[in-house]
C-alpha cells in the first residue's frame, strides 16, 4: 500500500515538474515567436546596441535600439543588489546574533508585513520621501537611477533578510556555542565561520533578489524618470520592464513596435539569466 502511495506521489511530482518546465519553455517560445518579426525591420545588433528608440515613424525611420534600457535595467538592479547585500547581511546578522527571541519574532512579523506591501506603494514612498531630497540635491524632478535603486533595495530587503536569517540561525545553532566554548569572541566567529559558510546562501538569495529586481516594474517606473537617455546615477533612465509597461498599451498589435517590446522582454529574460550566472560564478569562486 505504501509502495503504491509512493509511486503515485512520485508520478504526480514528475508530472508537475514536466509541467513547470513546459510552461517555462512555452513562455520563452511565445516571447521569441512574437519578437522575431521585428528583425525584418532592424538588425539584431542595431536592436541590442542602438541608442535610439523611435517606435512610431511620423514620416521618420523607425528605430528600436534598446541599449540604454539594458544599461538602465542593469544599473538599477546592480545598485539594488549591492545595497541589498550590504544591508541585508548587516541586518540579518544583527537579528540573529544580537536580538533575543521575542524581538526576533516582532522583526520577522514586520518584515512579512513589508513584503506584502504592493510595489506601487513603494513607488509613492519613493516619490514622497526620497524624491524631494534628491530634488534639493539638484536632481531635476528628483527622480533618478539612484532613487530607483534605493526603492528597489527597500523592496528586496525583506526577502533577502529572511533568507539570510534562516542560514545564520542554522549556522549559529551548529557552530556558535562550540566556538564560544573556546573563549572566542562572537564577531570573530561570525567573520571566520558564519559568513564564509553562508556564501552559498548569500549567492542564492542574491540571485532570487536579482530576479525580482530585474523584473520590478511599477515602483521603478514611478521614480526612475523614464527618459530614453544614457542612464546616470543622479540622472534619469529607463528600464526594460518600465519600457514594456509604459508602451505595450499603445502599441498596435503585430506592428514593429509591438514586436520590439516582445524582443525587449526576451532580452530582459536573458539578461536576468546572465547576471544570475555571473553571481553564481562569483559565489563559487569566493567559496
Amino acid at each position: 500500500m505504501t509502495d503504491i502511495k509512493e509511486k503515485i506521489f512520485k508520478n504526480i511530482i514528475q508530472v508537475l515538474m514536466v509541467l513547470t518546465l513546459s510552461i517555462l519553455v512555452f513562455l520563452f517560445y511565445f516571447l521569441i515567436r512574437e519578437a522575431m518579426p521585428l528583425f525584418d525591420y532592424c538588425k539584431i545588433s542595431d536592436f541590442l546596441f542602438g541608442t535610439e528608440w523611435m517606435p512610431v515613424s511620423f514620416g521618420n525611420e523607425l528605430k528600436f535600439g534598446i541599449w540604454y534600457f539594458i544599461l538602465g535595467t542593469t544599473y538599477v538592479s546592480f545598485i539594488a543588489i549591492i545595497f541589498g547585500l550590504i544591508f541585508s547581511t548587516g541586518i540579518a546578522l544583527f537579528i540573529t546574533f544580537s536580538l533575543n527571541e521575542k524581538l526576533q519574532k516582532y522583526i520577522f512579523a514586520i518584515l512579512d508585513l513589508i513584503s506584502a506591501i504592493p510595489s506601487v506603494v513603494f513607488g509613492f514612498f519613493g516619490l514622497q520621501v526620497f524624491s524631494p531630497i534628491f530634488f534639493k540635491m539638484g536632481v531635476k524632478t528628483g527622480n533618478c537611477v539612484l532613487l530607483a535603486g534605493i526603492v528597489l533595495t527597500i523592496m528586496i530587503l525583506p526577502f533577502m533578510i529572511n533568507s539570510l536569517c534562516m542560514t545564520f540561525f542554522k549556522l549559529k545553532k551548529k557552530y556558535l556555542i562550540a566556538a564560544s566554548n573556546l573563549g572566542i569572541d562572537k564577531w570573530y566567529i561570525i567573520a571566520s565561520i558564519i559568513i564564509p559558510e553562508s556564501i552559498k546562501s548569500i549567492v542564492l538569495s542574491t540571485i532570487l533578489a536579482n530576479c525580482r529586481a530585474m523584473g520590478e516594474t511599477m515602483a521603478v517606473m514611478m521614480v526612475v524618470g523614464n527618459a530614453k537617455v544614457f542612464p546616470h546615477l543622479l540622472g534619469k533612465g529607463e528600464t526594460i520592464a518600465s519600457l514594456i509597461a509604459l508602451e505595450m498599451g499603445t502599441a498596435i498589435k503585430n506592428s514593429p513596435h509591438y514586436h520590439a517590446l516582445y524582443a525587449a522582454g526576451v532580452v530582459l529574460l536573458i539578461l536576468t539569466f546572465v547576471i544570475n550566472q555571473v553571481v553564481r560564478i562569483i559565489g563559487r569562486d569566493s567559496e
Partner: protein, 249 residues
Amino acid sequence: MNNVNVKIENLSVSYDDKKVIDNINYSFYRNEITCIIGASGCGKTTLLKTINRSIEYDENVKTSGNILLEENGHFKNIYDISEEVLRKRVGIVSQNPVVFPFSIYKNLLYPLDYYTKLNKEEKKEKVISVLKKVELYDEVKDNLDKYADNLSGGQKQRLCIARTLLTEPEVLLLDEPCSALDIKNQDVIEKLLLQLKNEITIIIVTHNIKEAEKLKDKIIFMDAGKIIEDGVDIIKNPKSVALKDFLNY
C-alpha cells in the same frame, strides 16, 4: 585546601522556575579528576555548563550563588570574569563533538590564530604535538588538509579535545565524552585524561560507572539537583538509598 581550583558556593540553577541545581556547595581540586554521576536529568550537565557559563546560551535560565575560580592564590567569582576569558580558562568538551567546517589542520589552528602570535612553524609544532597527545596524529598525518567532518565519531571527539587543549585551559569540563565511542577510542581518551590531570583540573560527567571508577580521584553522585554523596569509594561503599538504587545494589 590550597589546591582548590574551583569552589562552588550555594549554587542554584533553574529553568523556567524549575530548580535543576539546588543549593550546591563543592570544591574541585587541581590535578584531580572528579567524576559526576547520576541519573538523567539530575543536573550533572547543568552543573558543568554553569561552571564555564555556557549555560547562558539557554533561554530562561536563572542562577544564584557563587562559583569561584582560583587566580594567583585568590578566588575570583566567574561572573566578574569576562565570558571569553572564562571559557578560555575553563574549556568544555561536549558529548557531541562539533568540528568546524574546515580541514583538520585548520580546526586546530583556529584557537591558535585567535590567541597567539606564533609563526607558521611554531603553530604547526603545537598542532602536531597536541595531535600526538590525543593519539590522533598517526591516523590523520597524511590527511591534515582533508575536511574534518569526514572523521569518525571517535576521531572528531579527540580532535575537539585537542582543539580545546590548544587554548591551554586550567580546568577541563567533559560532558560524557566517551558515550558514543567504541572501546578503543574510550581507552585512548581515558588514558589521555589520566595524563592531563597532571597539568589541569578535570571534571567529567559520565553515565559509565566503570569509566568513573577508572578515572576518579573523586566521584560525586547527584540526584534531583543535589550532591547526595561524594568521595573516593562511593561506588564500592554507597551510603545513601538513592545511590544504592542508582547502582542497583
